[in-house]
Symmetry: C2
Subunit: 199 residues, 2 copies
DNA sequence: GTCTATACGTGGATAGAC
DNA sequence: GTCTATCCACGTATAGAC
């Protein structure tokens, strides 16, 4: 586990059976997508019958929501914890490095976070959308600070914020463990993001 | 329709009923995803009964494959046609501008192209994967030329090729028509991509 | 080439025993 | 809390008439 990416620990999910269902569902949703995943598939990954799933979760969608909510919170935490440094350039590099490495290191849950939003109920979607806005705001603030002190030159602030975020998010689509070290990727992406905005 | 993005014309799909099914399937797959789309949904968008679909296509997956194959070819064409200019910088800007604008302008089919690969049969996936490699090679060649003549400074060629491509591809995930003009987005992204690699 | 009707499998979720 | 058994709705695909 990297020093810059928050650990994804599931001890808080109790009992152990609920945790096995959750982690099995993450793998299944990431591999096949929510719609293609059956409750039988999730249950069998947890070593249970399909009926046992409903003791712990009221529906397949609720399982997705728990995963998506926890994943979004983890991603926001990673970004906020990395927002450190004496200059906007250092802060940006730290944030993009950590956020990118998180998407690589945790590409299974990141895939669920980034690509299964459409399967959430409107109420659940609204809840994770609020976290997504917070992620975007956190990045936009650094760019704003850099523009103000003259270290960044950005012609379109919302467009550039989205583009930089987008670069890191898309890692979840293509990354597999044989495609390199998450840390090295984070360093590369921090450099690319910095070059996108520097004066 | 933009001047730099190839038109997506469906006249070659005959008869008209097959064309209505194909375009209806693009919309449905883009909105809900392949797995969540029913043959009833596709047929009703084309004003037909579900059974009529099977006169024109042998399966739902085959419909996806036709869409994916045509979409991939269109994307490669756009990139190749935009690979013009007297310098690597001009060529890169033209390519990224056109490729990005295509993903915005045609975000429905682009979404199917970029996010429904897992639903293809292994044989069909292999066919589109070959086109994807050609797209990547086309971009890598420009970067290689720019490194050689000293106009680009790139520490990690495969990684940077993937990142630049990735930036444009992710447009298909978030773009909707109320998020600005595809041409303007293309221009912004061409600038960002150029800044990522320039000396 | 399109329809109605339907076969057949599958999937989310529940009932009730242990 | 987990099981086996099952309900019931839905989805892909086919049969056969027009």
């Amino acid at each position: 586990m990297s020093a810059v990416t928050s650990p994804l620990v599931w001890e808080h999910v109790q009992p152990a059976a609920a945790r096995r269902l959750l982690t099995g569902a993450i793998d299944a949703f990431a591999e096949r997508g929510f719609q293609a995943t059956t409750t039988r598939d999730i249950a069998s990954r947890a070593g249970m019958s399909p009926a046992a799933l409903y003791v712990h979760y009221p529906s397949k969608e609720r399982l997705l929501f728990e995963i998506s909510l926890y994943g979004h919170r983890a991603a926001l935490d990673v970004l906020r914890n990395a927002d450190q440094g004496s200059s906007p350039a250092d802060r940006l590099r730290g944030m993009i490095s950590a956020f990118t490495a998180w998407h690589a290191e945790h590409h299974t849950i990141a895939r669920v976070v980034q690509y299964e939003l459409a399967a959430l109920t409107p109420e659940h979607l609204a809840e994770v959308a609020a976290i997504r806005r917070a992620i975007s705001s956190q990045l936009e603030q650094v760019l704003t600070d850099g523009i103000r002190d003259g270290s960044f030159a950005v012609s379109d602030l919302p467009g550039t914020t989205l583009a930089v975020l987008s670069l890191a998010i898309d890692v979840a689509r293509w990354y597999t463990s044989h495609r390199g070290d998450p840390e090295a990727l984070g360093t590369l992406y921090a450099d690319l993001a910095h070059r996108m905005v520097q004066t």
